[in-house]
Amino acid sequence: MADPVLEGRGLTKRFGGLVAVNGVDIAVERGEILGLIGPNGAGKSTLFRLIAGVMKPSAGSVAFNGRAITGRSAHDICVAGVAVTHQIVRPFREMSVLDNVMVGAFFGHRPRPRGRARARAAAMEALTVCELADRAGAPARSLTLAGHKRLEIARALATRPEVLLLDEVLAGLNPTETDRTLELVRAIRERGTTIVMVEHNLRAVRGVCSRIAVLVEGRKVVEGDPDAVLTDQRVVDAYLGTAHA
């Protein structure tokens, strides 16, 4: 692909004897929604952490808009324009929903809003997109799980990312909440943000992603059109387990 917005080459991460991510090449096209799936323990979240700078790769490189960001700190990478949400939500518990998002607004990609009023406006905008505006003044810890997930997204969205990495934002949601969140993901993409989603919900992923990549035991196994990938024998085997020969 010409000019991917985000590109990882040969990304590897070892923890002692365990290789969590093994030589993964990944290229994200501008404006797409890329799905990243794989059985548990396949290394998907770890890959996100490598890209977002939360962990340093044992080997490999990451480039954003053609410029290398490998090994830079998480806050640098967020400021550059790549934001990540957490699989297990991490709200700032003692702050309100609005304040949580304001942190993102104040500190994300430049240009940053100057002054509290502008940051507040930017935060409210993100909250509105995520349908949390009515809960703005509530303490963050009073939200339901679905609310928390949307708060994670709103907060990351407030940092004005070019690429948003969503880590299992559908986990634990019922079908209605799932659909709502998928709508949200589409809306975010409409606003011009590229999205990569790690997910277990295969049906959801098929519905919203333009491409899907599959990770199994740290390696990328197949990638491409959602229908083709999901019916690929290797993927089926990975999820269901191969029958003994």
Binding site: R14, F15, G16, S58
Partner: protein
């Protein structure tokens, strides 16, 4: 010689770490030994260890348990408060005068291959090593020991596999405090002390833990050795009053250079 002392400091730290971050304990107990020491030096541990075990257990049940859910800094502050109370209680009861144990044992020396060794130091070293080994065996070979380690790593998971977490925490705490008491008891044989005694020691044990990495007894032993070497080295070049600075300087240097501690870094290098 100081290796034995360092071992003890390290031992105190390990159990405290096994309780997920309760760190102030070692210090306050060592000086508590004032009182028992005015009685009978070498036998005092027989009283002290069980007494302190009970004390630690009780402390855990009443106070510590209440702050388990909060941020770790809260439990630190709690234990700090306990330490303040104990230290100043000591000041009030025994005043700030320096105390020491004077018996024949303390001054005894033995000649060994041209060197004159102080008997108490040998004793402390041996006891320190024994305790360390016993502790390692306890933590790895016995069910209770493993239960403690499991709880330290993940309380909920431990509950799920059937560990009575409440009981384990009480016991672990009790052991930690008992060890601290025992350590202080041993140290009183070697040094004179004031209620301030604990502070420099807790800094050293902390230093050992950082040097040796936070997870293993082997690391602690390694850290103790490293610190002892650094101190022995420093003795030649620095005035006595700056001795305590050595551990601190080493700490700062290590932290700047090797955030994971020496053992941690070595491990990471080995893994590649």
């Amino acid at each position: 010689m100081s290796y034995g002392l360092a071992l003890i400091y390290g031992v105190l730290k390990i159990i405290n770490l096994a309780n997920a971050g309760f760190l102030m304990l070692g210090a306050y107990l060592t000086w508590w030994l004032f009182t028992a020491y005015h009685v009978h030096p070498l036998l005092a541990p027989l009283i002290i260890v069980p007494l302190f075990f009970l004390g630690g257990w009780a402390l855990e049940r009443t106070l510590v348990r209440r702050v388990l859910g909060a941020e770790p800094i809260i439990s630190l502050l709690l234990l700090f408060g306990v330490w303040l109370v104990l230290q100043n209680l000591a000041y009030v009861i025994w005043t700030g005068d320096t105390r020491s144990i004077e018996t024949a044992f303390v001054d005894a020396t033995v000649a060994l291959g041209g060197l004159t060794l102080s008997v108490p130091r040998i004793y402390v070293f041996v006891m320190g090593a024994l305790v360390l080994v016993a502790l390692q065996l306890f933590l790895t070979r016995t069910f209770l020991g493993r239960a403690i380690r499991a709880t330290a790593q993940d309380r909920d998971a431990a509950r799920l596999v059937g560990v009575d977490v409440d009981r384990v925490m009480g016991i672990a705490f009790g052991i930690g405090i008992a060890l601290a008491g025992f350590g202080g008891s041993l140290l009183s044989l070697l040094f004179s002390f004031t209620p301030d005694f604990g502070r420099a020691l807790s800094l050293k044990s902390f230093c050992i833990v950082v040097l040796g990495g936070l997870d293993s007894i082997v690391g602690v032993a390694f850290g103790s050795l490293a610190l002892a070497l650094a101190e022995a080295f420093g003795v030649r070049y620095m005035p006595a009053s700056l001795q305590n600075l050595i551990s601190f300087v080493v700490l700062v240097v290590v932290l700047i250079a090797l955030p994971k501690g020496i053992v941690g870094t070595l491990r990471a290098l080995r893994r590649g």
